[in-house]
């Protein structure tokens, strides 16, 4: 492996290129026409255009991506997350083209792509699962019998779905029929399959996931856990490691469950086994396995001191985990990650596209920023609006939290509205500080509206507003400017500012 094609964009493509360089490998980027000038292209050694803006025609275009590998002489493909990362057909096409697939073998993950068959694998591996039943008999009697077995409250879930789509909570038998009918309709249209199952609903559940690594020599290890309970509509917003509500015994049990599941399927590479943790019963239940690098992998990297991308690459070229992890893996301190989105929390979380007039990411010891954008870059409307992840480490959770808040206060994004003020507010919420959150907490707390932008008054704000008029024609260029010899203004410095008024969110 000398040259790795990265079939992705944004921060994860940049981050994977960095990993390749540690091992002396070259990184090849692919880009859509909308991303011709994007940061992940600038961060690669070489880049190839794979199609128009729409993902289906570019980042999901298997033929164009394989052609790009051939053109540049890449000998391996890293899929990142999202896009083609869990697409079994793509994996098989990559291997058929004679390239190394940096991820698990297709045969290992095919059996766990459906939730119900994954659950069967978990049971075979001795991994706890929440009581559940497949709804194959859809008569009233059939669903009532299944529900009686599982108990209330329960969740109706599509068998082949994801992202919470079609999922419904049912608290009593009387509501079950309607819920099942609705779920079938949604599942059919979203996933092309109306197969359902029901599962016990865990009150105040916490999302705990276990990072695992497997090598091609039959070794499977866990790299401890992350907690991702702060979610908005099943999208993770804040992630951390370790999960600080677990006892040492519970941590060992859940991590071993993760390892056992991965070992059961003969997993190779980096993966994540997700669990619900029931804080009342002190039990964990298998949820699903993500067979790729996760967005939130940096919190693990920071706490365990393992570069997971480097580990993926070394596994892919046949190295043994006993060498890659020589000296063993331990947790040190605490790390918290926030996802910075171009979205307007005060306005229904509407995604924002536009030009980043100015970006300043934080820059401090024990703070890591995985960013896909910098000053001047365009945020296209075609893709996920995540701009960056900011990760802070501390000797304990409170130090990490304070450091992350300091980092967010230093974060500046001009040109699009972001969720930074909301993240700052979340990190200061008493429930978050006390670690008393669960997967439904954020939606309850902030619903469809959340804190928006800051406020301004007084000297600094007014002076800055006035100074803006001084920008002159440069200011309309939209990025950082050179004004080393900013001489006296020759024209009316106010021209650019006629008729402005202060306003918060859009």
């Amino acid at each position: 492996m000398q040259k790795v094609l990265i079939a992705n964009r944004g921060e994860i493509a940049v981050r994977i290129a960095r990993g390749c360089r540690v091992l002396g490998m070259r990184a090849v980027a692919v880009y859509s026409e909308a991303d011709a000038l994007a940061r992940h292209v600038r961060a690669a050694d070489e880049a190839v255009c794979v199609g128009p803006a729409e993902s289906a025609l570019s980042y999901l275009n298997v033929a164009a991506i394989l052609a790009a590998a051939k053109r540049t002489g890449a000998d391996a493909i890293h899929p990142g997350y999202g896009f083609l990362s869990e697409n079994v057909d793509f994996m098989r096409a990559v291997v058929a083209a004679g390239l190394t697939w940096i991820g698990p073998p297709a045969d290992a993950i095919a059996p766990i792509q459906s939730k119900t068959s994954a659950k069967a694998v978990a049971q075979a591996a001795g991994v706890p699962t929440a009581p559940s039943a497949i709804l194959d008999d859809l008569s009233d009697a059939g669903i009532e019998k299944a529900a009686a077995f599982v108990g209330f409250p329960l969740l109706v879930k599509p068998q082949d779905g994801g992202g919470g789509k079609g999922m419904q909570r049912v608290d009593r038998m009387a509501d079950l029929r309607t819920a099942v009918d609705t779920a079938r309709r949604i599942a059919k249209s979203a996933f092309g399959s109306d197969k359902l199952f029901i599962e016990r609903y865990v009150e105040d559940a916490r999302h705990v996931e276990v990072q695992v690594l497997g090598d091609t020599h039959g070794t499977t290890v866990h790299c401890f856990e992350r907690e991702c309970s702060v979610q908005r509509r099943h999208q993770k917003v804040i992630e951390e490691s370790p999960c600080n509500v677990l006892t040492a015994v519970e941590r060992e049990a859940i991590c071993e469950s993760g390892r056992a599941f991965a070992a059961q399927v003969g997993y190779v590479g980096a993966g994540t086994v997700e669990f619900l943790f029931d804080p009342q019963r002190r039990e964990h239940y298998f949820l699903e396995m993500n067979t790729r690098l996760q967005v939130e992998h940096p919190v693990s990297e920071t706490v365990i001191g393992v570069d997971l991308v480097v580990a993926q690459l070394r596994i892919a070229r046949g190295e043994k985990l006993q060498d890659i992890l020589a000296g063993g893996v331990t947790q040190r301190g605490h790390a918290i990650e926030v996802r910075v989105y171009a979205e307007d929390p005060a306005n229904g979380y509407a995604p924002q596209a536009g030009t980043l007039l100015r970006v300043r990411w934080p820059d401090a010891p024990f703070v890591r920023v995985d960013a896909g954008f910098e000053s001047g870059d365009a945020v296209p409307m075609f893709y996920d609006p995540m701009l960056a992840k900011i990760i802070a480490w501390g000797r304990d959770r409170e130090e990490a939290r304070h450091r992350l808040m300091a980092a967010l206060r230093e974060t500046v994004v001009h040109g699009v509205v972001t969720n930074v003020p909301m993240l700052l507010a979340l990190l200061a919420e008493p429930a978050y500080v006390a670690s008393e959150v669960h997967t439904g907490w954020l939606d309850k707390q902030y619903g469809n509206e959340a804190p928006g932008m800051g406020s301004a008054s007084g000297l600094t704000a007014m002076a800055a507003l006035a100074a803006a008029g001084q920008g002159g024609p440069l200011a309309s260029n939209g990025a950082a400017h050179a004004a080393i010899q900013a001489g006296p203004a020759t024209s009316d410095p106010w021209t650019a500012l006629a008729g402005w008024r202060a306003g918060g969110a859009a």
Binding site: A350, R358, G454, A463, A482, A486, T490, R501
Partner: protein, 174 residues
Amino acid sequence: MKRIFESPDNSRLELLATPSPGGLLLSWSAADGMTSMEVLARRAPNGDWLLEHDGITRPALVSIDRQSVWISSLDAGDDLSGTVRFRRMETKRGTTGVDLGVRSPMTGRVVAVHVQEGDIVEKNQPLVVVEAMKMEHVLRAPRAGQVRKVACQAGQLVEGGAELVELLDAVAAT
């Protein structure tokens, strides 16, 4: 060289700027008669502003686009916290009423237009649906009024902040 602003608390501000060696000499006073102050503004090579007042320099970041001025400061105090966006004032005073521009909150594609010119609309009535990044966003009337102009059509790509519908205020329209 004098401009009038509406500050976040809706009070009126007069600002003056005079070119000066090494930067810009600024002064302002609130309309309620507060003392005016002077600030020396210098611009660093990376575009940051350094604002000096009474011997103390404070950094600030300022960006301008077609619709907004964005301001940020590290100074987390009483003065300016986080990032604040000042929007261009778009209120036009006509003879028959006050126009309200309904703007797209994001760059995206118009998927549906529910009104046409001349329609009388209720407060919160859906006007236009915009989609971006697989998410639909319904634009509703901010108050009762009459549709003066529809500046978009279904299928069209629009920029964030673009005015899609102009409303005539109900009070003025009646």
